[in-house]
Amino acid sequence: MNPFRRLRPWLRDRRLPAAIVLMALAVGAVQTLQWWLAPAPKVSDFVGPPRSGYTLGNFRGVVYDKDGLPSFRIAGPHLERREGDESLYLNAPTFELPAKQPGVPDWHGQSEYGWVDKSGNLIKLQGPVHMHRPAYGDTAAADIRTSEVTAWPKENRMETAEPAQLVQGASTMSGVGMRANLNDKHLELLHDVRATFPPRQRKPA
């Protein structure tokens, strides 16, 4: 007789143990899939006991990058570190983004509110945001004004989806949506662009 023909009644008489075995196989398969597909668990890069939340008044802070070099400086009247997401909430922050180029001055900025994520890689600035870089050499001072900025200080990069205005000497540019890389001075304005460039200075004949 075919062995499978005897299997059915055999299983039917032992429904409970058969169901248990099936369930165990299913759970095993799912767990195996989860180990295989799920991302590696995030390694906590902070050593030591979890830090408590704290509030600082009239603070000055320096955030260092992985090479131990200052990636940006930040100051302001009020700072709160909240345990929940371990990020920083700032009121009226002023900040300096190092130009990381010899002879090129830092960008100074200020906004109404600021938020820095746990690792210090991401800053969000709100309220009127104004950034200023002093003049140096033949290059005129530069100013950027917008209403909101997302910045990656360790990459010296920033962007906004809001209207932005840039003034550098007699040149002015404005648009809606901006991306700027302060390292290689690469600038993109995404929509509705207007600009004015000064006439050429005639070199004396």
């Binding site: 033949d138 001075k185 600038l187 304005l189 995404l190 207007r194 460039f197 006439p199």
Partner: protein, 161 residues
């Protein structure tokens, strides 16, 4: 006009800008680009703006379907030009139109060719043809003094009464 070059260059509109704020760089404006400089007006789909060592605009290359240029000369005569590519030298004030180039000068005539060079300082124009194409130029006749012939025509009319 001759003093157009001493005026600021304005980007009246562009859909997007992608460039560098540093010497010897090229910036690209895309989408419905309108640029003015005094009475000079350039329009096109893509404009590449070349900045020299002093971060001043040295050249502007406009491409479009067509790229368009227009300007008033010192006698307020309108010059209009269309071409596939328009290369405007902001230092010498010379525009080179290539690809189905057409230039019309009010009161003077028009020219068609593969490559037309228009000097915005002197309103001088030169045409070159590539391959077997020819340069076509039409010069409008100088308007004759209109007063005398009109008098002669009216005298016979009176005798006839």
């Amino acid at each position: 006009k001759q003093d157009d070059r001493d005026k600021p260059m304005n980007v009246e509109h562009a859909d997007s800008f992608d460039g560098f704020q540093k010497p010897n760089s090229v910036s690209t404006l895309k989408g419905h680009v309108v640029i003015t400089q005094g009475t000079l007006r350039l329009t096109g789909d893509v404009v590449k703006v070349y900045f020299d060592a002093d971060e001043q605009i040295s050249r502007t290359v406009v491409t479009g379907s067509p790229a368009h240029i227009q300007q008033l000369d010192d006698n307020n005569n309108l010059m209009q030009g269309d071409a596939a590519t328009l290369d405007y030298d902001n230092i010498k004030g010379v525009a080179v139109l290539t690809g189905n180039a057409v230039v019309k000068q009010q009161g003077r005539g028009e020219a068609h060719g593969d490559k037309l060079t228009y000097n915005t300082q002197t309103s001088e124009m030169t045409g070159e043809s590539g391959g077997d194409g020819r340069v076509h130029m039409t010069f409008l006749p100088k308007p004759r003094a209109a007063a005398q012939p009109a008098k002669a025509a009216s005298a016979p009319a009176e005798q006839g009464k």
